[in-house]
Amino acid sequence: MKKLAALLVLTLVGTLLAACPAPTPQIIEKEVVVEKPVVATVVVEKEVVVEKPVVETVVVEKVVAPTPAPVSAQELARRQTLNIAIGGRIADPTNLNIYAPGVSRSSTGLHQMIYEYFFYQNLQTGEYIPWLAESYEYNDDFTAITVKLRDGVTWSDGEPFTPEDVVFTYNLLLNNPGMTWAAEVSKWVGSVEKVDDLTVRFNLKKASPRYHLNREAFPAVGIWGGITILPKHIWEGQDPLTFKSSNPIGTGPYTLAKATETAMTYERDEDWWGTKVFGVKPAPKTVNFEYLGPETNVALALAANEIDTPFIGILSLGSFKEVVKRNANVRAWHKEAPYAWLDPCPRPLMVQNATPPWDKKEARWALSYLINWQAVVDLAYEGTTVPSWGIWPFYDGNQPYFDAIADLLEQYPTATYNPDKAAELFTSLGYTKGADGYWTSAAGERLKVRYVVNANSTEEMKVSAVLADQLEAGGIEVELQPLTDPVLADTILRGEYEIKLHSFCPGYIFDNLELFHSKYYVPLGEPAPWYERNSFRYKNEAFDAILDEMAVTPPTEVEKVKDQFRRIMAIWLDELPVIPGVQAPALVPFSTTYWVGWPSADNPWNMPVSWWATFNLVINGYPSPETGEWVGGIRSAFE
């Protein structure tokens, strides 16, 4: 008996041990379990929202549709639904106040689906597209801009969109400095007044021929977002910082149907003003912004046609290629390598200029020399991007300015790995390298950095693993802090970091320099106006002076701007307030199984970005500002 039992145990152990070197099916089961619940939740939510209206539509479509094959109600609902994967959970789905710091406007879908803007810029075509407004006009000395609003625009509750709403929103921003981007508004706007029922005038504090391009002060979206006009009849009497706006009222073609931590569901507004004015209707009846979990879940969902497109930075090249193998309808901007679209917001490493020793340019340069960005590109980005010497996208339009500082770039080799040079600089600052391999100050303190990382960003997490290794190898102790909103937002804005990789938007020559103006400088511990708007606390008077000069130079005077750019870059490169890193690749696949007409390199009619406010135009299309002809818009693959 005893022997038999012992034999049994031995056999069991033997079997298990033998199983050790080979992957067993047991393990795979384990991994799948992690994914299942997430997918299940999503499906349930979708069903709950979609179920009722579907039954009605089924009948209509079946009569019209030429295909006789029977299609399940669930499949029919899917055919009318656009599913977008987002990168992280919604921190508080009841707080949809677009002006409250820490509330995401893109993961929630707020600025794509609910709110709309006066103008949208199409970076692919260079068009400045009138939407809520029809036109703008500066006065002779660029101290005022008059905007003609479009006739017939209404809020989703039926109230008309009026100049009063515009005036109300701006007064709110001018009186509540805590609102997102309020600082930039206060800097430029003296007052906003109603001229007539369809006209508003913005009186500027100083001349600015570029005001209509300033997304943080004007309701125009070039990149990502812009100033959002709020409905006066809803927001009047509310505290704009604490009002939750859980049921947001906007002018957009969709209304919020359901908000949870993992999914935001929008339903098409059949009474949308655009249908009456433009005669168009967005094709998807339902749009979901869903959090599915880590990269694998998103990749599998895309392969299985459960989602149509993910946000930026979720799928790596390896996963993307695997998805394409499984689903031939999936592609990215380019059909072949390098696949990715170039996002206009490069990723430098912000360095806290207010915290010693990083307040010294030698320390910042030393840090720059310690980083091998090519290795970051190869490992974290899997070769989908390139290192960047500066903070502007490598777009053709910017090239003349880059050429103008070619010699400066030789003198100041940014994004260059040179550990010897770094050692030289640290030594000049009084640091010595201890036996443990870390740089130590004269006072015996180890050189240490707090590296804040957005835990919801696959991209940032990957880069942080490589960067932290490089810095440790270079003798700097790294304390990684993966955080999520709202703690993340608060930590960055208060400057409680030494380094943080961040996107620098909007990517125009002047605008990205302007982020460094010392008028945005606030002491450590107080919230800066915006992440890349000097949360790194840089201050230089000579730099500011040239910036102020640039601010009043019309962008059309290219030669003058080039000269200013040369002078200001001589300071910027010498001081290196942030450390240039990489260009931003946007590997954003989309699936043509349910929706077609996506912008791509073959048909670059718009930007392929579902996290920008301009996504409104990707869904709807837009009237060409030149011909008035309707351009683009995604369509059902079944029509």
């Binding site: 005893k2 039992a5 012992a6 145990v9 031995l10 152990v13 298990l16 041990l17 050790c20 070197p21 992957p23 393990i27 795979i28 384990k30 991994e31 992690v34 880590p294 990269e295 694998t296 990749a299 599998l300 790596s316 390896g318 996963s319 695997e322 091998n372 290795a375 190869d378 490992l379 974290a380 899997e382 835990a455 696959t458 997490m461 990957k462 942080s464 693993a465 490589v466 932290a468 290794d469 490089q470 440790e472 190898a473 790294v478 304390e479 990684l480 802090q481 993966p482 955080l483």
Partner: protein, 289 residues
């Protein structure tokens, strides 16, 4: 469970070594430990850094277990992860067993008010799902390291041993030898340490192994949720990285399989050791075997 049988140390160890479950478990455990220590001693810590090896390669010369997408060798990672995971288990199990036993002894022996208070405390901690707390704490502590992780887990490992020790002590303290000790003037703590403790040692050993095992698994669970030590490698963190880099989807089996198998082997060895300890110290179980 534990018995009142007192043996000489030598006889106990001999009996343990004759127990096949214990022996096999011990051999697997020692093999893992040797591999880990040897690997740890022979690898240069610098080779743990990303980019030290070519990326995404299947096992081959120079990288016996392949490399991940960040250009790190899986073998090097295992050699770092195994000792770190064992460290978490060791610290957490020691804390849990030591404080659990202490609280159990005090509560059981002294009784009265002390017992009432401690019993409520034990019951409260037993009824709270500890994983929930662990997730909360791990999420609140910015940037945990392996030691902090072990402390967090250890802080929730004491209630179960405390309750069981208390139950044993309640029975033991009524025995004649304890009465004799008390009559001969020994103090309470003296009785706990010199009279009661020897009777519980075997049981505590078994509990220690059990706590060790569950601490290793808890660490893996927390790491899988992204709450692990970001700058250090544990078995859980290895699985976390493999998962978050979509290693399964991309068929990089050599990335996720080794840590999972190491976890299985570790679990198996500790479980066998635990069974062995239990059998040797519990004659009833032994006769069944």
């Amino acid at each position: 469970m534990a018995t009142a049988r007192v043996e000489t140390g030598k006889g106990y160890v001999g009996e343990l070594l004759r127990n096949r479950k214990f022996l096999i478990g011990l051999i697997i455990f020692l093999t893992l430990l040797t591999l880990a220590v040897a690997g740890n001693l022979t690898t240069d810590p610098a080779s743990r850094r990303s980019g030290s090896f070519p990326a995404r390669l299947p096992p081959g010369p120079g990288w016996p277990l392949g490399t991940d997408t960040l250009g790190r060798s899986i073998a090097v990672q295992i050699s770092e992860a195994l000792p770190k995971s064992l460290q978490v288990g060791l610290i957490a199990a020691f804390l849990g067993t030591f404080f659990g036993a202490l609280i159990g002894f005090v509560s059981g022996y002294f009784g009265g008010m002390v017992d009432a208070v401690l019993r409520v405390l034990i019951d409260v901690f037993l009824s709270i799902p500890s994983l929930l707390f662990l997730i909360l704490i791990a999420a609140l502590v910015k940037g945990v390291n392996v030691q902090a992780m072990a402390l967090i887990i250890g802080a929730f490992a004491w209630p179960s041993p405390a309750r069981q020790v208390r139950a044993q002590v309640l029975s033991l303290k009524e025995r004649a030898f304890v009465q004799v000790a008390r009559l001969s003037g020994m103090s309470g703590l003296e009785i706990i340490f010199r009279e009661l403790m020897p009777h519980m040692l075997q049981w505590l050993g078994a509990n220690f192994v059990n706590a060790f095992l569950s601490a290793v698994l808890t660490e893996s669970g927390l790491s899988l949720l992204g709450l692990g030590p970001q700058r250090e490698m544990t078995l859980g963190m290895m699985v976390y990285w493999a998962l978050s880099y979509a290693a399964i989807l991309q068929n990089l089996w050599w990335w996720w399989a080794p840590p999972v198998l190491a976890l299985i082997c570790l679990f198996l060895s500790l479980y066998l050791i635990h069974l062995g300890l239990d059998e040797v110290s519990n004659p009833r179980l032994r006769s069944q075997a």
